[in-house]
Symmetry: D3
């Protein structure tokens, strides 16, 4: 008998600034590609992150994973590192433009560590909402193109 599988989604928020800019390109090129997102002193967002994890319901506790464990991980690895920061100054954006596409990919690699600590769940999606009008989802490095 297999246990039923549930997918849970957990949401956190953080506030950060960034600037879309490629050093190797000219000022004109940067403006043409990134528009107002290239303004020299940066801008910012209230980012919303949703992480989706899939796993079997534990018959004893009725839970897929303890949200307290997930929140403790997110407090340390997500909020502590990204909240009230300038994304461009973080190591992970030293060689990459701080687009939300790249941010989603970075957050996937972070939450894969939670997956390793709690192998009863499988990380299936990281979704980052930059504003109410756009969002970016990453489904893992092996997701089919």
């Amino acid at each position: 008998v297999t246990s039923p599988v549930v997918q849970l989604g957990r949401v956190w928020h953080f506030c950060a600034s960034h600037r879309l800019h490629v050093d190797a390109l000219s000022a004109e090129e940067n403006t043409r590609i990134f528009g107002k997102c290239n303004h020299p002193h940066g801008h910012g967002h209230n980012y919303t992150v949703e992480v989706s994890l899939r796993g079997a319901i534990d018959a004893a506790t009725g839970m897929v994973v303890n949200l307290a464990d997930l929140d403790a991980f997110a407090a340390r690895e997500l909020i502590e590192r990204f909240d009230h920061r300038n994304l461009n100054t973080l190591d992970c954006f030293a060689d990459r433009v701080s687009t939300t596409e790249n941010l989603a990919r970075e957050l996937w690699s972070i939450f894969m560590k939670f997956n390793e600590l709690f192998p009863q769940v499988e990380l299936v999606r990281v979704r980052v909402e930059e504003t109410a009008n756009n969002s970016f989802e990453y489904f893992g490095d092996n997701a089919a193109q």
Copy 2:
């Protein structure tokens, strides 16, 4: 010629209380596992349920299924049974912890009956939002783990 297939999502709300508790465990164990969700007199939520159904667009009516039929079913089987109730007192939680994981699974079995009454649609997802920060989705008993 096959008809185009659309997936519709319909949302309802209900207010209920619950307490996460396993009788077979000690008070200390219950507190360790469930934290504040184990407080003795319970607590509650405004639950949001979204049911997703997939089916071919009827060429005559332009609809996949009549939302009036779906709402009548939900009024009787969802709202009447769960709204303004204590989940722990319901039959379906007599032997299971009233987690939202287990609630999502229970709601799947309920809406499978709608699926049987209206076989032109296929139930593909039940999503339950406990708070704005967490949600649980069930994709069926045969969904791959």
Copy 3:
């Protein structure tokens, strides 16, 4: 020269259960008055509380009051006491029905203590949202009827 006055609103959430019931009334009367809110085992809500405070902008800091102080107070006096509780078991509802009207009044008296600790601001409103469709506001014991 007087400083400009700003009104700030701060929002917190808590999850609680309650039952609307008056012991002195018959079961029929309770049902007639409170309807489904009188169901014997209670139900619950995700409550949203917004507190509005008015004060002069401090010329040095640009702030009316430090939100860190306000959040610390709310963590201790609001979240700790109301979150994941059954309102009916709290002292403040021992002699009063646990309606959101009475809850708004109780929260006013709690946040008046913040007002005493930080007299540079004036408490002007407590708003409690029980569901997305109803809310209750209290403007103080001296607000004109």
Copy 4:
């Protein structure tokens, strides 16, 4: 080495009116099937459209596609044609009921043209929200039934 694939979602809003009605059916049949949505002078909605596109992150720009290009396309092909219109008067609903099922399908065919202009992305979903309580998703003409 393949580039990581991200799915982006972009949201736009438009306001339109419509009436659900089939000329070939009697007034009684129309009322029975469409209920209040068949009221003779129509009604309307604030429609929300979300388009999901999937593609590899461009190593140079960090973007899957330039949102400025997507917004320019949507301004011309979505907002200009649907906003502040009566759906029933549009060519695409001359022979079809103006249900949101059929609207989702029509919007898919529109955004497939964006897909042709920018082949580095693949259109994977069009979601139309008619009210906060219902939504309709189309995944393409070849999506499995």
Copy 5:
């Protein structure tokens, strides 16, 4: 001893169409004033109505007014008359442009009848949201300009 006074807000939604047009003006004038809101076949919205009532908390029930009474009134006088309608065809807009300003005023006069039926509360505000980006509030015919 006076009872504490609470202000409650109750929200309902309805879907309607309208067209902003003044018969006495030329087509050019109508277009200049109303822009896309003057498109000949109309458009529509999901309208959100919030009614605010103020009254003393009843010492026995803990309520300002029974929401069941308010909802029954709104079902009959608001939803039944406005939902899934074309505002321009209603009597109240026979001689007035169907702007949301005029709609707010009309809804005030409707809910004043509730105020007459339940004089323990005072109608203090009607708020109508046409889209997420605009709203109109009416505070009564005697509100100071």
Copy 6:
């Protein structure tokens, strides 16, 4: 006969970065007062601005003021100047901390110019939401403390 007076609210969004910092204070003082909002490279928000204007309904048009005029003003004076900017680099924050209290006051002075151009309305409130959990309202320089 006086015309009925309506209060309209119009909402816009912009994305900006800022850092709370007072040059005259030590690093320790800045950290003590502003906490994480003092992080050296700044952070950012999706700011939501709502402006409330009050005026008589024009008998001919049914409008208090033409929203097209208001939007044109906001595009030029609000979005163009604040969107995708670092608040600290703007003239209005050269001598003031870029708190949302001070931002609300600055936006009041901007929209007073709209009030001068369209004297049929009176500016009564500017509300700025920094995150979903906090907001700041300014009611004018003469509002009673």
